[in-house]
């Protein structure tokens, strides 16, 4: 190491000298150059001497330093041995102390174990509990306690253990109560306001407007559910919010805290309009057919009502009026009063035949729609199922959510079909009844009316 240092130093100096002499003066002639070299050799020899002396000096100092370092190492080794000794002694002492600690804690160790696990359980159950919305700060206490217990340095104080006991007891007591308190409520729009809310045990929280709320554990706030349950439940909720004592019916969601999974599912459930769109093209077709049936039935009902009122007016009058079917049938007799009975009967039945299609117009279509609508619904359901099963063949049946959504969409068309069919059947019955009444009068009673007329004429 030292040798290489020296060598590199020598090489460096030789190079430096060569360059400096060449650069210092320009040789005018070969003699001059020779002279320069000679001079240079003389100076170099002198310089080398001085350098050698310097190196010798340095070498001597190195040896001295080495000796010093050796002494120092010896000292340090001694110290290390000493410290090791002390460490071993301390080790023994620590073991002794730990044994002593264990001895003195005795049965307390078990207690602290239970305390830790209870605190841990409480931490998770308080996180979801609606009661946390009413009493904030319980989480921080539990977190501190758990941190203290998991570290070995500190023991929980009696106050802290008693506070834990108190918190458990409070949770238990509060879960059996219906209480109102003021809390920050986040609206679906995002704005927050301070409201009086009513908490029903650990099941539900409702606001004073009768809205169901959800407890969001992460932010320790109450939020209004974006979609609320159906009418009756809202009414009960506002009844409860408004009442001060006594019994009030109320729809609680028993599926758990934080608003309950059942209530939370409301947010994801589609509205009626969304459901209608789920029916797809078949659904729209059913709706169109239903609208057609409805309009047709209304139109026929109005026409038939006007017709039967005219027929009843005709029944009372002696003169045949051509503005109604019965009048037109009676007209046949009126125009040919001397006809023999057989020809009259034939003529009358011919006239009736002419009237019947006009009266029954559209009724068959209504009947067909009533029969076809459920079939269309079935068609929509089956095509929906086919699509669902195709999705299963592609993506596998691993996701029951996707599958169930498809199936519930498919069933919508069945509902639509039934929703069209049921009123159409009813409307058909009503319209058919009206038409049948008029036809009855034409078909079975027209000849009787004529007979009465002729007899009355004869009687005079």
């Amino acid at each position: 190491m030292k040798m290489s240092l020296i060598k590199s130093a020598v090489v460096a100096s030789v190079l430096a000298i060569a360059s400096s002499t060449v650069m210092a003066q320009d040789a005018r002639s070969l003699d001059q150059l020779l002279n320069f070299v000679k001079q240079g050799q003389a100076t170099e020899a002198k310089e080398n001497k001085a350098r050698e002396a310097r190196f010798k000096n340095a070498k001597n100092r190195q040896a001295q330093l080495l000796a010093e370092a050796k002494v120092m190492r010896k000292n340090e080794e001694d110290r290390s041995a000493r410290l090791e000794n002390t460490f071993e002694q301390n080790e023994l002492k620590v073991a002794e102390k730990q044994r002593q600690l264990k001895e003195r804690l005795g049965t307390l160790t078990e207690l602290f174990g239970h305390l830790t696990s209870t605190a841990g359980d409480l931490r998770s159950s308080f996180g979801n509990s609606l009661i946390s919305a009413q009493y904030p700060g319980r989480d921080e206490f539990l977190d501190e306690l758990i941190a203290k217990m998991s570290g070995a340095e500190q023991l929980p104080s009696i106050e802290e253990i008693e506070r834990l006991w108190f918190e458990i007891q409070r949770e238990m007591t509060e879960s059996g109560k219906v209480v109102s308190f003021t809390a920050e409520v986040a609206k679906p729009g995002g704005e927050k306001e301070s409201r009086t809310v009513v908490r029903v045990g650990t099941f539900n929280v409702i606001s004073d407007e009768g809205r169901y709320l959800q407890y969001i554990a992460e932010t320790n706030t109450l939020a209004e559910l974006a979609r609320q349950p159906s009418g009756a439940y809202i009414g009960w909720a506002s009844d409860l919010a408004g009442s001060t004592s006594g019994k009030v019916p109320f729809g609680a969601d028993p599926t758990g805290p934080s608003g309950g999974s059942f209530l939370a599912a409301l947010i994801n459930s589609p509205t009626i309009e969304e459901r209608w769109h789920q029916g797809g093209n078949v659904g729209y077709a059913i709706t169109a057919v239903g609208a057609l049936a409805f309009l047709l039935a209304i139109w026929r009902l109005i026409v038939l009502a006007a017709m039967s009122s005219k027929v009843s007016a005709q029944l009372k009058s002696d003169k045949a009026n051509t503005n109604n079917p019965l009048g037109r049938v009676l007209m046949v007799h009126e125009q040919n009063p001397t006809m023999d009975t057989e020809t009259l009967e034939l003529k009358l039945s011919e006239a009736v035949m002419k009237e019947v299609p006009k009266i029954e117009f559209g009724l068959n279509l209504l009947k067909i729609i009533a029969a076809v609508a459920p079939l269309m619904g079935l068609l929509g359901t089956v095509t929906g199922m086919i699509i669902t099963f195709q999705a299963i063949t592609i993506f596998g049946a691993g996701d029951p959510k996707a599958m169930a959504g498809g199936i519930s969409g498919a069933l919508v068309t069945t509902v639509l079909g039934l929703l069209v069919a049921i009123p159409t059947v009813l409307l058909h019955t009503v319209t058919n009844g009206q038409a049948k009444k008029v036809i009855h009068v034409l078909d079975e009673q027209s000849t009787g009316i004529i007979a009465e007329h002729t007899e009355a004429q004869l009687g005079k």
């Binding site: 599912a265 589609p270 459920p374 519930s408 009673q445």
Partner: protein, 174 residues
């Protein structure tokens, strides 16, 4: 006190079965109203109507001409209209009851699948509500239809019998 309990029970049952159950209840109510209306008619004013038809017929001087036969036909037709009034509606309502039940089933199933789509099918408890909404209306529809079938058959039989009896009473002189 008991009335309250009964009402409470009914409302809870209706809540379990969903909104379709109310329609089935209305349908059953209409059905039985019509049936009882018919019973009422058969037991009270039917006699009067038949008697007036028979007496009109009996009051005639002759009962064998073409005119007489046509008037007889008219009398029977008028009486039949009264006897059969409401019967087609009863029949229709009986046919509609199972359709309503089916509708309840399908809407209930939609709810079940919807909850499944939200929860992933892991929560059997929340799905049970939809299942009861699916099954209760079916049962109610069946009960309404079955009770209606018997009532309908009975009422139709009476109507037919009375109509035939009337025709037999209006005798022609040959």
């Amino acid at each position: 006190m008991y009335l309250n309990d009964v009402l409470d029970f009914i409302f809870r049952f209706m809540e379990q079965g969903g909104p379709v159950l109310w329609f089935i209840a209305a349908l059953t109510f209409a059905l039985w109203t019509l049936v009882f209306e018919r019973f009422w008619y058969f037991n009270t004013s039917l006699r009067q109507d038949l008697d007036s038809a028979i007496s009109t017929w009996e009051a005639r001087r002759e009962r064998k001409s073409w005119n007489a036969r046509q008037i007889r036909r008219q009398l029977i037709s008028q009486a039949n209209l009264k006897i059969n009034a409401g019967l087609p509606m009863i029949k229709t309502l009986v046919a509609l009851a199972p359709l309503f039940g089916l509708m309840g089933t399908v809407t209930g199933m939609i709810e079940v699948f919807n909850i499944m789509a939200v929860t992933g099918g892991g929560d059997a408890k929340s799905m049970a509500g939809g299942v009861s909404k699916a099954t209760i209306p079916t049962m109610a529809g069946m009960v309404a239809a079955l009770s209606g079938v018997f009532a309908n058959t009975y009422v139709t039989q009476i109507a037919e019998r009375e109509s035939v009896l009337l025709e037999d009473h209006l005798t022609t002189d040959h």
